[in-house]
């Protein structure tokens, strides 16, 4: 039973045209997911392949202009999500997918797993600021968990060495990619914590695709980082790549080099800080010694009578000054050592001419310093001498030696300073430079 329409006899071309119209009208914009197979890239620059799933396949073409903007390289076996339209190639009577854009469909699943794990760990509080441990100020030994080959380790060693040339580093070598990586990283983190081998850990890897970074988005690794008693600095991927390990770590560095910078202080800065404090300490001591000398001077000026105490003060003063001299001597040798060290550094670092000039300058400075300190010491010795002489002058016995005498009324021993107060016959005691005598007042006069 045939009607007039079905009895129409088509030419092949007509049929292909009709099918094309049908398909292009119905499937002019669609998404297809499948596995790439039979990929061919002729010299035209177009890519021809099949998209497969377990139930079948469809031919597909990616023209050169579209291929150029693809963010990844098509490979056989890759699961991809393609956007495109259907068309018919009449010459062969085949229909095919004209692909305009594609992305690896694995990404979607990985991305979902990433978001899910991130949300879960965040809800558990593993990312909380309060959990973050501070980094040691000056680490004794730095643990590095990374691949033993490649630029990541090289960068870290280079930057650390530049900043603090004697910072020890302990590398726990691991694979940073593939299914073996997570257990190895967890192991390495645990091993490094054993017996306090290190006091900070850098967990590092170079950049890569989300798939490459998968071990650092692994829950086991995240939990090992969170459980670490030693602070962990993560440096995974490029500046823009964030991994779960980054969120859990105590500090996240944008790159491996930056991690080394965060962990290792600059030795020169620390030396400068210590040196500046030392300078202030010396100045403070100098001022304090000066103040105390002043006080002793003033006190000794007020002393009239007890010779014994004067001598004591003099001993104390001598003792203090000797200690001060010793300390200054010490600081001098310290400075000399540092200058010699600096001179050595310069010799190593710079062109010969500059070094020679700096060397001369340093020598002059060193001499100046030595001279300044010598002058300072001499000044202090002189002060001791001056003070001793001054104390001598104030010694009442000194006055007596010059022929003066001290007379006291007996029996109360009060000093006699006015003869009008004396009666004839009063007994007096007269003290001279050596010894004394008692006498009776014969008469008095006003001079």
């Amino acid at each position: 039973m045939m009607d007039g329409f079905s009895q129409k006899v088509w030419t092949v071309s007509e049929l292909n045209e009709a099918v094309r119209d049908l398909l292009e009208g119905r499937f002019d914009h669609l998404w297809v997911e499948g596995e790439v197979a039979d990929l061919r890239r002729p010299s035209s620059g177009h890519a021809y392949f099949s998209l497969k799933d377990p139930g079948g396949q469809i031919r597909a073409v990616l023209f050169r202009s579209s291929a150029a903007v693809l963010k990844f390289r098509l490979e056989d076996g890759m699961r991809v999500l393609c956007r495109g339209r259907l068309s018919v190639y009449p010459v062969r009577g085949e229909y095919q997918l004209i692909v305009s854009a594609a992305e690896p469909s694995g990404i979607g699943a990985l991305q979902r797993a990433f978001e899910e794990l991130k949300a879960r760990l965040e809800a558990e509080g593993l990312f909380d600021r309060s959990r973050k441990k501070p980094l040691p100020f000056l680490p004794r030994r730095i643990g590095v968990v990374t691949s033993p080959s490649g630029s990541v380790l090289r960068d870290i060693l280079h930057v650390a060495g530049r900043r603090f040339p004697s910072a020890d580093i302990l590398i726990a070598p691991v694979r940073v990619q593939g299914a073996e990586a997570p257990p190895e990283i967890v192991r390495a983190l645990e091993d490094l914590q054993a017996e306090g081998l290190v006091d900070v850990i850098i967990l590092a890897r170079g950049g890569g695709s989300l798939e490459d970074l998968a071990p650092f988005n692994d829950e086991r690794v995240a939990r090992a980082v969170a459980a670490s008693a030693v602070p962990v600095v993560s440096a995974v991927g490029h500046e823009t790549d964030y991994t779960i390990a980054d969120f859990v770590a105590d500090l996240r560095a944008p790159t491996p080099s930056a991690a080394a910078e965060l962990v290792v202080p600059v030795r020169r800065d620390l030396l400068a800080a210590v040196e500046s404090l030392r300078g202030r300490l010396l100045k403070g001591m100098d001022r304090s010694a000066f103040r105390w000398r002043e006080r002793i001077d003033r006190a000794s000026q007020r002393l009239r009578d007890p010779v014994r105490r004067i001598a004591e003060s003099r001993l104390t003063l001598d003792d203090r000054l000797q200690r001060l001299q010793r300390l200054l001597q010490e600081s001098l040798s310290n400075r000399t050592y540092r200058l010699a060290y600096a001179a050595g550094q310069l010799r190593h670092a710079d062109p010969r001419e500059r070094i020679r000039r700096h060397g001369l300058r340093l020598e002059t400075l060193r001499k100046d310093l030595v001279r300044a300190l010598e002058i300072e010491c001499r000044g202090k010795r002189q002060r001791v001498g001056t003070n001793a002489a001054r104390l001598d002058a104030l010694n009442p016995l000194g006055v007596l030696r010059r022929g003066y005498a001290v007379a006291r009324r007996l029996p109360d021993g009060s000093l006699i300073t006015d003869s009008a107060l004396l009666d004839e016959g009063t007994l007096v005691d007269v003290r001279v430079a050596s010894g004394g005598f008692r006498a009776a007042v014969k008469d008095t006069y006003r001079s």
């Binding site: 590398i171 726990a172 091993d191 081998l197 210590v274 030392r278 202030r280 103040r291």
Partner: protein
């Protein structure tokens, strides 16, 4: 984790210097403080000493951990 000794020393030295600069110590106190300060400076300089750094590998051999020198890539 125990606090870093270097940081402690640095803070201690800063305190000593500030106290000495305030100048309200007895002579004996300031001498003691000074000697303590010099001791801290010496210890810190020793810590900052330009020693050769050690770069080592932590290797696991069965249940044992071993530390070996790192000779560079490929070791």
């Amino acid at each position: 984790m125990a606090r870093d000794k270097f940081e402690d020393s640095l803070e201690k030295l800063e305190q000593i210097v500030r106290r000495m600069e305030a100048g309200d110590m007895t002579l004996d106190e300031s001498l003691k403080a000074f000697e303590e300060g010099i001791r801290l400076v010496r210890a810190m300089n020793a810590r900052l000493d330009d020693a050769e750094r050690r770069v080592e590998l932590l290797l696991r051999e069965g249940d044992l951990l071993a530390v070996k020198p790192f000779a560079g890539e490929g070791s």
